[in-house]
């Protein structure tokens, strides 16, 4: 592994971590698509700031883009307020306009500078190590690393300082407003953070993959935990894992690094979707199957208890009668009986079933519960 490769991975990891921080709140607040809107809509801000400064690494670019991001949020709000279109349509109307203006500006006036549309959409991580921060003659490493580092730290600071407020506003906006926490201010602050992160990240990964890094790891973490702090931590971790594994995938295929990172985000989500301990599809299926059998066993014990010591007990406790009475197939009834015997809920004597003490207790508990 060369030093360049190490640097690319480092930058990718920092980008992923910085995106995951505000992303966790976007996912929880059901505003994930705002990351899509903002990451597209900041383009004209970047272009205009670039025309003003003529320098792609100027901090003005970040400020310009962040302002455009907040403007996007405000515009969506304005369109939404008119009540002429629904909220999702408002988002979908605003950001393509801003993005289109940005692309046209680039195509017409900036055709031959670094700022081309492919770079905007797709980013180019492989070029990151060539833009270095040199201070007083010392080479301090890739400039993007410092930029993303500062942005990431801002995110950490913001969340650490306003953790309680963010948590409350996210889970109970009404209560937050009553207690005087100004959810609107928090909302715009969060959107500002999303904008700043998106603009700093998109030079490296492009505007669309910012969405993958902001939404993917938090959505995955959401499947794995119920605690906010743990979810944020997991999001960062999952983002870093996607970044590094994505880099090596790209290395193996000789393909786009950013695209591979997004692919790995998808792979991780898919894995959690299927295999997450409690909420994964497999776990849910297994739970359902298990519940089906325990429920059937309970039914059997209740049925037996119901007719125990009654005149009809002789008829009702026959195994082949279960098919008729509980409308079970012979196969199903056989399996339930076998399991119940195994669990020492019933005992079998000459084709008749009798409850054990444990079975009687289970049936009574089940009746009380119902």
């Amino acid at each position: 592994m060369t030093i360049f490769q190490l640097e690319i991975q480092l930058v990718a990891a920092v980008v992923a971590a910085a995106c995951a921080l505000p992303g966790a709140f976007l996912v929880l607040r059901q505003m994930a698509m705002m990351s899509d809107a903002i990451s597209h809509a900041i383009l004209p801000g970047i272009v205009v700031a670039f025309f003003l400064t003529g320098d792609l690494s100027s901090p003005l670019l970040i400020i310009g883009a962040a302002l455009t991001g907040v403007l996007t949020v405000a515009l969506v709000e304005v369109v939404n307020r008119t009540q002429l279109v629904k909220e999702d349509a408002a988002i979908g109307l605003v950001f393509p306009v801003l993005f289109s203006i940005g692309v046209i500006l680039i195509a017409r006036y900036a055709g031959d500078v670094h700022l081309d549309t492919d770079a905007v959409l797709l980013g180019e991580l492989a070029l990151v190590p060539f833009d270095r921060l040199v201070l007083g003659g010392y080479d301090l490493g890739p400039r993007a690393l410092y930029l993303m580092g500062v942005v990431g730290l801002t995110g950490v600071l913001f969340i650490a300082l306003f953790y309680k407020e963010l948590k409350l506003a996210t889970f109970d906006a009404g209560l937050a407003a009553t207690l005087g926490f100004l959810p609107a201010v928090l909302h715009y602050a969060l959107m500002g953070l999303v904008s700043v992160t998106a603009v700093a990240a998109f030079d490296a990964v492009g505007s669309i993959l910012v969405v993958a890094l902001m939404v993917g790891p938090p959505a995955t973490a959401h499947l794995l935990t119920d605690r906010l702090a743990r979810m944020i931590g997991l999001s960062v971790l999952l983002g870093v894992v996607s970044a590094v594994s994505g880099y090596w995938l790209a290395h193996a295929l000789d393909a786009s690094i950013a695209g591979s990172m997004a692919t790995m985000v998808g792979v991780l989500f898919g894995a959690a979707f299927l295999f997450a301990p409690h909420r994964g599809i497999v776990a849910v299926m297994r739970r359902r199957v298990r519940q089906r059998w325990t429920f059937a066993q309970k039914m059997l014990t209740i049925h037996l208890l119901h007719h125990e010591d009654r005149p009809e007990a002789e008829r009702e406790s026959r195994i082949d009668h279960l098919q008729e009475h509980l409308q079970w197939s012979a196969d199903f009834a056989g399996r339930v009986v076998r399991q119940s015997i195994q669990n020492k809920l019933v005992i079998r004597t000459n084709g008749h079933l009798a409850l054990t003490e444990a079975g009687r207790r289970l049936a009574r508990e089940a009746i009380v519960q119902a």
Binding site: M33, L84, T263
Partner: protein, 387 residues
């Protein structure tokens, strides 16, 4: 004018215009349902998700036939939609997150495939990246024929299931109770939406295609409350924006097609939101102003009536200054009094003294009755609720 003439003589221009019109009309028609069903952003996800489908179709067949690429795009877009549905139905992940995730992951995977293809030896991949932003000028007759064929099928299907899709969009629960296979209708309508999106990718590009799904219906919605008219208007708006954008872009150097079309259609949206009768913002502003004016006139008239009620004669005159004082936040009442006089409800007696006319007394009593009546009705309503 020159451009207009060329439209009929110039082969390229005609092709471009036809293609853009087809795209605008089909996406406008099917977008209507997406917007009404609050699935506006689904179009965004589908169009982004189409990218790996295009790349895979090329990778597997080596062909750049529009039908092959569109088929790949449609399959990928459709798969993404199904995954979004599966994730939202089966886990706690919400719709918006599922959309954002599928959109970006599919797009990212598409990029991996595209860059992988670019590095293959001898691969004739030139042109695949026009799918990012679209390139109207590159449309040839073959493309337009494919677009029109697929679009025609989609529109025909929409027509055949008109009643069912209407029911699905406005009251799916009722439809279910009537025994319609709502789930299949949902899948069918989504498939048509996928077709509409796939048709436009080559012209507008994956990034901005979503705007073609949202904007024409959003504009059409302002002008009508009827689904049929909305679909037709939306098709017209979409086609108009498509043609004007594509022609502008084809006739100008360095003007990418997708963004130009999007700006055109957005102008239509802004115009509709401002100007449309009844719903439009200007219309609404005028109406608010008018009713505010009417309410203020009524308030002054009733004040005058209340003052007069304390005298033997209902036409007892009162000073303007008193009325000014009774409505401190309304500003001077003179203009309102003059307006009331023009309507014949009051008459000037001396300078700055006004008295009710018989017509004015009748009007004031009518207003009071209707307000009392209104309140009486409300009282009754409340009693009804209590019971």
């Amino acid at each position: 004018m020159d451009l207009f003439q060329q439209l009929f003589t110039d082969y390229t221009l005609r092709t471009v215009a036809l293609g853009a019109a087809t795209l605008g009309a089909v996406s406008g028609a099917l977008g209507t349902y997406a917007v009404l069903r609050r699935q506006s952003l689904l179009g965004d996800a589908i169009s982004h998700a189409a990218l790996p489908g295009i790349a895979l179709a090329f990778l597997l067949t080596g062909s750049k036939l529009p039908l092959v690429l569109m088929l790949g795009a449609a399959l990928a877009g459709w798969l993404a939609t199904l995954l979004v549905m599966a994730v939202t139905n089966m886990t706690r992940v919400k719709y918006d997150s599922a959309l954002g995730l599928m959109l970006s992951v599919f797009f990212g995977f598409g990029l991996v495939l595209l860059t992988f293809i670019q590095k293959l030896p001898n691969a004739n991949q030139a042109g695949l990246d026009t799918f990012l932003f679209g390139q109207a000028a590159a449309l040839v007759q073959r493309d337009v024929v494919t677009m029109a064929g697929l679009g025609g099928v989609a529109l025909l299907a929409m027509g055949c299931f008109w009643k069912e899709f209407k029911l699905l969009s406005f009251d799916a629960e009722f439809g279910k109770s009537l025994g319609f296979p709502i789930r299949w209708l949902d899948v069918g309508l989504t498939t048509l939406l996928v077709i509409a999106i796939v048709i436009g990718l080559q012209t507008v590009g994956v990034v901005l295609m979503s705007a073609m799904i949202i904007a024409p219906p959003a504009a059409a919605r302002q002008w009508t409350d009827r689904l049929g008219l909305m679909v037709i208007l939306s098709m017209v708006f979409g086609a108009l924006a498509g043609v004007s954008g594509a022609l502008l872009s084809a006739g100008t150097t360095n003007l990418p097609t997708g963004p130009t079309i999007v700006l055109c259609v957005s102008i239509v949206v802004i115009g509709s939101m401002l100007l449309a009768p009844n719903r439009g913002l200007i219309w609404r502003w005028l109406r608010d102003r008018r009713s505010g004016r009417r309410l203020r006139l009524e308030a002054v008239l009733l004040d005058l009536y209340a003052l007069a009620a304390q005298h033997d004669h209902r036409d007892h005159p009162h000073a303007e200054a008193v009325l000014d004082a009774m409505n401190p936040h309304m500003g001077p009442t003179r203009r309102k009094l003059q307006a009331l006089a023009e309507r014949g409800f009051i008459r000037p007696v001396e300078p700055a003294q006004w008295a009710l006319t018989p017509g004015g007394i009748a009007e004031a009593e009518r207003l009071l009755r209707s307000r009392d009546g209104g309140e009486g009705e409300r009282e009754k309503g409340r009693e009804g609720e209590d019971r």
